[in-house]
């Protein structure tokens, strides 16, 4: 789906990575790995278009991303380190903002899948860090977009939520979607690893 060609990233005059070429294909789950501070989040910001200045090229389904921003943006779900959850709103309201087409039962189902049954209408500032993250991730159950980019999705989740999320990701890949994620923890899925720092693509 998305091909990175010779991508490079500089921050504060420090070269984080360069010459990164890899293709994220349909059905793939990519685990971007590497030590703290190596530029994993910066890479995700470039891939998603949050940051638009970088060396190299990004091609979405064969076209330069800059020429098809609208199509690309319509195919993308990005859940970043700070995932855009409003603490003053409830889980239901947050989810509705990102998935306005979903009806009540679909919203509640998506929240229940990650163990948030009964927390639908609690304002999010009352939730713990793990619960907040799960509100953000509930979006994936309703997402029809094929390309998912997730920054540390497993952080602060308990065992049940991790299992539910892993199942959700593998189902998405099986349907022909593509997932790109970072994680400090090992991922219990048939992933392809991209190790930043030595720029190597480790075969699954």
């Amino acid at each position: 789906m998305l091909a990175l060609k010779d991508l490079s990233c500089e921050r504060d005059n420090r070269l984080l990575f360069e010459g990164l070429s890899v293709t994220f294909g349909a059905g793939d789950i990519w685990h971007i790995d590497g030590p703290n501070g190596v530029g994993k989040t910066s890479l995700l910001r470039q891939i998603t278009g949050v940051s638009r200045y970088h060396g190299g090229e990004l091609r979405w389904r064969g076209r330069d991303v800059a020429e098809c921003r609208y199509e690309f943006a319509q195919s993308l779900v990005y859940i970043g380190h700070t995932p855009g959850i409003k603490k003053a709103l409830s889980a239901r309201e947050n989810l509705h903002h990102y998935c306005p087409a979903a009806d009540t039962s679909a919203l509640e189902g998506a929240l229940a899948e990650l163990g948030l049954y009964g927390f639908e209408d609690v304002p999010c500032f009352r939730l713990s860090a793990g619960q907040l993250r799960r509100v953000a991730l509930a979006r994936l159950a309703l997402a029809s977009e094929p390309f998912w980019v997730l920054d540390e999705p497993f952080t602060a989740l308990d065992v049940h939520a991790i299992a539910a999320l892993e199942q959700r990701l593998s189902a998405h890949a099986a349907r022909g979607g593509c997932v790109v994620l970072t994680s400090h923890q090992p991922v219990n899925l048939p992933v392809q690893r991209l190790a930043l720092g030595d720029y190597s693509v480790v075969p699954a």
């Binding site: 921050r11 278009g49 319509q74 409003k86 903002h97 990102y98 977009e145």
Partner: protein
């Protein structure tokens, strides 16, 4: 989920409005500040009616400007902190349109309430009768100018760990003409002069700001989110 532009703007507006209403400090702080300063004036400079009346239109305008200024930093701050801004940046919809909804909400919770409060404060400062209408009309138009212009400063400084009043240094050159035209309108009315031309000028400012500011804000947000 693919939604149309109108629906996307509607969603953005609904969310911003809900947040603003629930976030007491967003709408309460400018009003508290406004009332506070006007209440302190007689305590600080003495309660002589004539002196207060002479400075009333100018003071009300200055305090409204300051109240707006102090509320600007919050315009994009929480979106920046919680990641909502990233989501806006990667939205399929044009960023200036989403921004427009945020500016509109900002004015609805700061500029508009200040305008509605102003007659009360005029009363507290013994503003002569002829001053009320021009004061209200000039604040109504002028405070919208302040929201639009201020949004550009807020977008430029959102990435700084310490924005604070840095915004004010950036946008003050654009705020000063608004202040002068606005305050003069009420002042001239009190003195019995013609003031409609000043209000028309303010309207012209507003038209320019509405047409240009959303694009400037969108560009500023993109710049802020690099690096």
């Amino acid at each position: 989920m693919s939604v149309g532009l109108a629906q996307a703007m509607g969603l953005q507006f609904t969310q911003d409005w809900k947040l603003a209403v629930r976030s007491r400090s967003d709408w309460a702080n400018p009003m508290i500040f406004f009332v506070l300063v006007i209440t302190l004036l007689p305590l600080g400079i003495g309660p002589e009616v004539k002196q207060l009346a002479a400075i009333a239109p100018g003071m009300i305008w200055i305090v409204a400007l300051l109240a707006t200024l102090l509320s600007l930093d919050a315009m994009f701050r929480s979106d920046w902190d919680d990641g909502s801004l990233e989501q806006m940046l990667i939205s399929p919809h044009p960023l200036p349109m989403l921004v427009l909804s945020k500016i509109a909400v900002h004015w609805l919770v700061t500029g508009l309430p200040l305008t509605l409060l102003s007659p009360l404060l005029g009363l507290m400062l013994s503003l002569p009768e002829a001053g009320y209408l021009p004061l209200i009309v000039s604040l109504f138009i002028g405070s919208a100018c302040l929201s639009f212009i201020g949004a550009i400063g807020a977008a430029l400084t959102v990435a700084l760990r310490q924005g604070g009043l840095l915004i004010s240094l950036i946008i003050m050159p654009f705020y000063v003409p608004v202040l002068i035209f606005g305050a003069s309108a009420a002042m001239r009315a009190v003195q019995g002069f013609e003031y409609h031309g000043l209000l028309v000028m303010l309207g012209g400012f507003l038209a320019l700001a509405v047409a240009g500011a959303p694009f400037a804000v969108a560009a500023a947000l993109r710049i802020s989110s690099e690096g």
